[in-house]
Symmetry: C2
């Protein structure tokens, strides 16, 4: 439904841009949400998207920029002079402003920082000191905090004072005289409290917070675990320094899931879905293709090594694909469950041993099922029950081995602090291909005398 | 950090349970969050987890049950009589209560519904009429709504009246005399407004809402798109009937991502990460293994068909794995980008043509790179430059074909309303294996005369 609307609006805008009817275009875009404007800009060519963007006031422009994908954003920013850029950055929340300024060339970033509000530029400079993928790197400085001794009325006054700067307020944080985070007040409780009570009387004391250095994936896990709309961020000592809201947590979740999925498919670095550079896409995909290439050369060598066996029973070659593919598929199933289960936290390091045993039993069951089928096929197709028996035993063994490897490698990687997803897909598939082939041809060679 | 804590607590509880020191156990569990209690219960054996659960008051017990994974939950529920069950359900939010009651055997569900608050049971019965994976199926009836003519004071009174029932309030919804949703008021704006104004003066009129029948994946997309803490749910006519909060949206996101990842790995139905039944796990994994099995039998037949070519140049067999694997890997990369990009909405049906062309160019580039490498290997290893040339040309062609198929199939599936993830992984790998083998052996057979 939405997508059709966007398409229609894009078409109307193209028509009006041709007719140079700026008034009508303004009329259309004024009622749109920033995210919809961003979507429209993404679908326009460079000239038109820059034109539409130039019609936006600084506040809308800042919201739209925060919603744009990186590719469209870079293109829009390239077109802006530092005056317009500074106006836009001035309107942004500190986290979005920091993302934008970090992406600018140093010289322009410097100029923009000099032009914007002093308080804002100090915030941006502070936020830039944190690693990108940590709590400090994704937090914003826009929050409402009051002292422990404040009354309800004072808290409300503070909300009023910060109202313009902090668009969405969910909690009021409570700090002591040293700015240490000591509690949190939900707006609902603030509304229901009597005006002469103090915040310390209605605050929740057991506050879940994260330190600035915590990895963003961990932040998302904690926020999700305790269902927090916003999670406060503290420094090493416990001073309140920022907050991360649920929408940023959701962004992290989506980003991490996409990253995991891509890594499992053998895409080395994250590929932007809207990436347009063929070279860049090739670059992120080629490394694991080459690892696979090297692994398969090993397979070619193994086949060469067992040439005599292949020559003696040519049917051995027919079943190479089935043996390798069944091992590969089982390995991917096992590794996927482990990688995803560990990523969502549903499989803890605590449960590993039980899980590994379960994988062995499951693959035994599935291996035997497929083995029986293969035995029947070879017996009735090739009329070689002896060969069928050996072949199907090998299949069971290969599936068992592949599943175990598939389940084990992610655990090992996790233990040595490598993201299990990164090496799981192509690494496991390739190792299973090599191992499967050795097992297959090795056992066949041993059994050849009994087949004659 | 957390996980260590949980482990320690579990060990302490085991020790105390042995010593039958109920007072100390109560002492430990009273300070814990429901989600942590759920984690602990997951790690205890049946007897101990039922025992710990029996120590919880009805309110905590209801929160803990909502946090448990399905496996542990079913085990806990089996142990409860209908009196205790009713107490617990009475304390639950309507959406969680509905989930629980739906899972009970009909007879017990009936008894529980008779015992709980009439209003609550009516809500549960209404919620049970909606499909599980729709907005209606995941919404809760706990929300605060006031009439258009209400003053700020009246809105605050309504919040107070609903305060116990609705744990977390983010917005007050505004309805007209016919209960049609016409606006939404943020608590922040409520706090800052003068008490004699009406809600209609401060409400946001352009409310984003979803209909009860909208698929949960779509609900999550809309809530994410507009960064909504809670999204109101309306019936066909526009009456306000429920709300879905950000935490449920995040659950949907995580569930859908896990489902996609599993489907792409060839796991037919969703496998619970904590599933203990070997038979059940085998059941969800076997179908796509068997599809792969069938496909690989076709491969065996193709090899059998080309037996003469294989016999003439045995080296042809050595390179079967590399041709098939490189096609398979490229196909998975392309399909993964398409499936995930469409799932997150970053690749719209609008962008498809451009994306397909991009995939062709990328795979051409990567194919040629791998092809050159293969040519060098065959030339210097086997000293057969002519064979190397043919082999590497075939490789380029197979990679190109596999990527194109990998990118195209998800789009076709999406167009005919089948989840692209479901058939993507094993389906594409298997088709690419079959096609790759036919291309490889077909072309080699054609070129054999020139190799002699």
């Amino acid at each position: 439904m939405e997508e059709v609307d966007i398409k229609e609006i894009v078409e109307n805008i193209l028509y009006l841009a041709d007719a140079k009817d700026e008034a009508m275009i303004r009329n259309i875009i004024v009622g749109l949400y920033p995210v919809d404007l961003a979507e429209i800009i993404h679908h326009l060519n460079e000239e038109n998207s820059n034109y539409i963007f130039s019609l936006l006031d600084a506040e809308t422009a800042s919201d739209v920029i925060s919603e744009l994908d990186n590719i469209s954003r870079d293109q829009i920013i390239d077109d802006l002079d530092e005056v317009r850029l500074s106006e836009i950055v001035d309107e942004m929340d500190s986290d979005d402003a920091t993302d934008l300024v970090s992406d600018l060339p140093d010289e322009i970033a410097q100029k923009v920082l000099e032009r914007i509000d002093k308080e804002d530029s100090e915030e941006v400079i502070e936020l830039m000191t944190h690693e990108e993928d940590t709590a400090g790197g994704i937090m914003a400085k826009e929050f409402v905090a009051v002292n422990l001794q404040s009354t309800i009325d004072q808290a409300i006054q503070e909300i009023r004072a910060k109202s313009e700067e902090v668009e969405d307020i969910y909690y009021v944080y409570v700090v002591d005289d040293n700015n240490l985070l000591v509690g949190v007040v939900r707006l609902k409780d603030l509304i229901l409290a009597k005006s002469n009570t103090t915040v310390s009387q209605i605050m929740i004391r057991d506050v879940v917070s994260v330190e600035t250095t915590v990895d963003q994936e961990q932040v998302a896990k904690i926020a999700r675990r305790y269902d927090l709309v916003a999670i406060p961020v503290v420094d090493k000592i416990g001073h309140l320094v920022g907050r991360i809201t649920f929408d940023d947590v959701a962004d992290v979740m989506e980003e991490e899931a996409s990253e995991d999925i891509q890594r499992m498919a053998g895409i080395a670095d994250e590929e932007e879905f809207r990436e347009t550079s063929i070279l860049r896409i090739s670059q992120v995909r080629l490394p694991w293709l080459l690892v696979g290439f090297a692994g398969q050369l090993v397979c070619a060598y193994i086949l060469h090594y067992f040439e005599a066996s292949l020559n003696q029973i040519i049917a051995t070659a027919f079943f190479i694909p089935i043996i390798m593919a069944m091992g590969g598929n089982s390995g991917i199933q096992s590794s996927t469950i482990m990688v995803r289960g560990m990523a969502t936290g549903e499989i803890g390091l605590y449960d590993i041993k039980k899980r590994l045993f379960r994988e062995i039993f499951v693959s035994m069951l599935n291996g035997i099922t497929c083995g029986i089928l293969l035995f029947l096929v070879v017996t009735f197709w090739l009329k070689q029950p002896k060969f069928g028996l050996i072949l199907s035993s090998v299949l069971v063994f290969v599936i068992l081995n592949a599943s175990f490897i598939g389940a084990l490698i992610p655990v090992v990687l996790k233990k040595i602090n490598i993201d299990p997803a990164i090496a799981t897909g192509p690494f496991i598939t390739t190792s299973n291909d090599v191992l499967g082939l050795i097992i297959y041809l090795g056992l066949i060679t041993i059994f050849i005398p009994y087949l004659k």
